[in-house]
């Protein structure tokens, strides 16, 4: 059952991720991105990380993609005119292919050396899946990882300051 679910999810994810980068219309692109994020949440559920699945949707699909949507809508992008044959700098295209192939090789070599998918067994008992619950995560976060947690707070503060500074700059 989980194997089937994984394959279906993987296909949907690949399809929507491809659509994100091939759509001409940026708003559709973002909606496919939301679908991709949603599929990621599905993967988290399959891996037993339920809390991460919820966070994935709340933060990525519910917040960050909204921000993207605003930016795209604000950039005044109408139905894009065909701009084929108008290369910016001729080096970009080969460079892009080279980077793509390089990253692909790295991933494939990693996959070849890894011991296989880490999906916990369906009848593996509740202990494995309980690890992904909010309370287990919280226990780890507030005992062993308390310093990174507080530093994350400072990081968020920096983000607030940056956002305000950027958005308020233009005002007289």
């Amino acid at each position: 059952m989980q194997g089937v679910m994984f394959i279906v999810l993987a296909l949907v994810t690949l399809f929507s991720a491809l659509m994100v980068i091939t759509r001409k219309d940026p708003v559709s692109s973002i909606l496919y991105l939301v679908l991709t994020f949603f599929c990621f949440a599905g993967f988290y559920v399959l891996l037993g990380a339920q809390f991460l699945a919820a966070v994935q949707i709340i933060v990525y699909a519910g917040a960050i993609a909204v921000l993207f949507l605003f930016v795209v809508m604000m950039l005044n992008l109408r139905e894009p005119e065909a701009e084929e044959g108008k290369e910016l700098i001729p080096i970009w295209k080969p460079l892009g292919y080279a980077v793509g192939i390089g990253v692909g090789i790295v991933f494939l070599s990693y996959l070849a050396s890894s011991p296989g998918p880490a999906i916990p067994p369906l009848n593996g008992g509740d202990e494995i899946y309980a690890m992904g619950r909010a309370d287990f995560l919280g226990k780890a976060l507030f005992t062993d990882f308390i310093l990174p947690f507080e530093i994350a707070g400072v990081l968020l503060l920096a983000a607030v300051l940056g956002a305000v500074a950027l958005a308020k700059k233009k005002r007289v």
């Binding site: 809390f51 919820a54 709340i58 619950r133 909010a134």
Partner: protein, 361 residues
């Protein structure tokens, strides 16, 4: 020989499908009659009758068939997609709005276990451990339907309405999240069934008595999330015609409307579950072996509580005037968010004190 586990999981799937369809039909029926109820309540509050013609034959029966008439009319209207609109997104937007509202129902505990044909069935679609977080996650997706509708229509009013709604919903989502953090501190779990069971017993076990401020914050943010009256700026008709659904007609408009009422109905169930004991009855203990009768009673109890909040939604709509847009954001960011943070500290501090002095909080 059949594998027993496959048979088990098939039975589980069938059972859950039946429960899902049953609950969905009940929700749809309540939503359909909520549209009639709203107009009736508006009528009585304004000293008039409201719709009272669509009855059976000679008997008007307070317009009991009005929702069916409305639905039929929606279906028979022309399905207009403006020439300048983005066709795909224009069609997707109402679907998305309705779905985001309807998905909420998966986590809400509509009742206790019920025994039918010797099988114990839980009157909750998915008793997932995430509960509250699932509903927050799905609720945060509701923004897209409206943003899509506003943008795809290619109409200035729609775009403004869509933008306003998105800003409003995301601002109040934070208030809602913070209010629920305080609740989770107390209950120690995001699982809704456990939260309900913890509230059984005497009436003062209801969370509303231990979290009055949190309840108020949560309730206000629910109004904003559903874009209901004091916060219905997206549809401020004197400024924006009809906001993000200006260009919509036929059942596409109907789905937006239906989505709004579904959102309201399920939000009412959610409020009843979180703060008013859900399907439990005050002073009545949850039985160990619930039978058919108890299952039906618990289902009914939740709906009675939910219908009350649904009524309050409508009552408020026809009583209060609308906020101005800047006032709405001021209220959210400058009043409610600081208040919600204070509420978290208050709750946490009180629980610490109770723990210290050995009083069960």
């Amino acid at each position: 020989m059949l594998d027993l586990s496959i048979v088990m999981s098939m039975a589980f799937l069938v059972e859950k499908s039946i429960v899902t369809v049953f609950i969905f039909i009940v929700v749809l029926a309540v939503v359909a009659y909520a549209t009639l109820g709203e107009r009736k309540i508006a009528g009585y509050l304004q000293d008039r009758h409201g719709p009272n013609r669509a009855g059976i034959g000679k008997h008007k029966l307070w317009g009991i068939l009005q929702p069916i008439a409305d639905g039929t009319k929606f279906f028979m209207k022309e399905d207009i997609i403006p020439d300048k609109a983005n066709k795909i997104l224009f069609v997707l937007a109402p679907t998305f709005t309705f779905c985001a509202a309807g998905f909420i129902m998966a986590a809400i505990p509509f009742g206790d276990r019920i025994t039918i044909f010797g099988r114990e069935v839980l009157l909750q679609i998915a008793d997932i451990n995430l509960g509250i977080l699932y509903i927050l996650a799905i609720g945060s997706l509701g923004v897209y339907g409206i943003a899509m509708g506003g943008w795809a229509s290619n109409n200035k009013y729609s775009l403004m309405g869509g933008l306003r709604t998105v800003s409003q919903m995301i601002s109040y989502e934070i208030v809602m999240g913070l209010a629920l953090v305080a609740l989770m501190i107390d209950h120690g779990t995001p699982a809704l069934r456990q939260i309900v069971i913890q509230q059984s017993g005497p009436i003062w076990h209801w969370s509303v008595f231990s979290h009055p401020l949190g309840f108020l914050l949560f309730y206000i943010s629910v109004f904003a999330e559903c874009s209901r009256m004091p916060f219905d700026l997206p549809e401020a008709e004197n400024e924006l015609v009809a906001g993000y659904h200006t260009e919509y007609s036929s059942m596409k408009f109907g789905l937006f409307q239906f989505g709004e009422y579904t959102h309201m109905t399920l939000a009412s169930c959610f409020i009843a579950t979180l703060y008013f004991g859900g399907w439990t009855i005050p002073w009545v203990a949850v039985p160990e072996n619930p039978g058919l009768i108890w299952g039906i009673i618990s289902f009914g109890v939740l709906w009675i509580k939910a219908l009350f909040f649904l009524f309050v939604f409508m009552w408020v709509r026809w009583t209060l005037p609308r906020f101005r847009y800047d006032q709405l954001l001021y209220l959210g960011w400058k009043k409610l968010i600081p208040l919600a943070i204070f509420n978290i500290f208050l709750t946490a501090g009180l629980i610490l004190l109770f723990q210290k002095f050995g009083i069960a909080g």
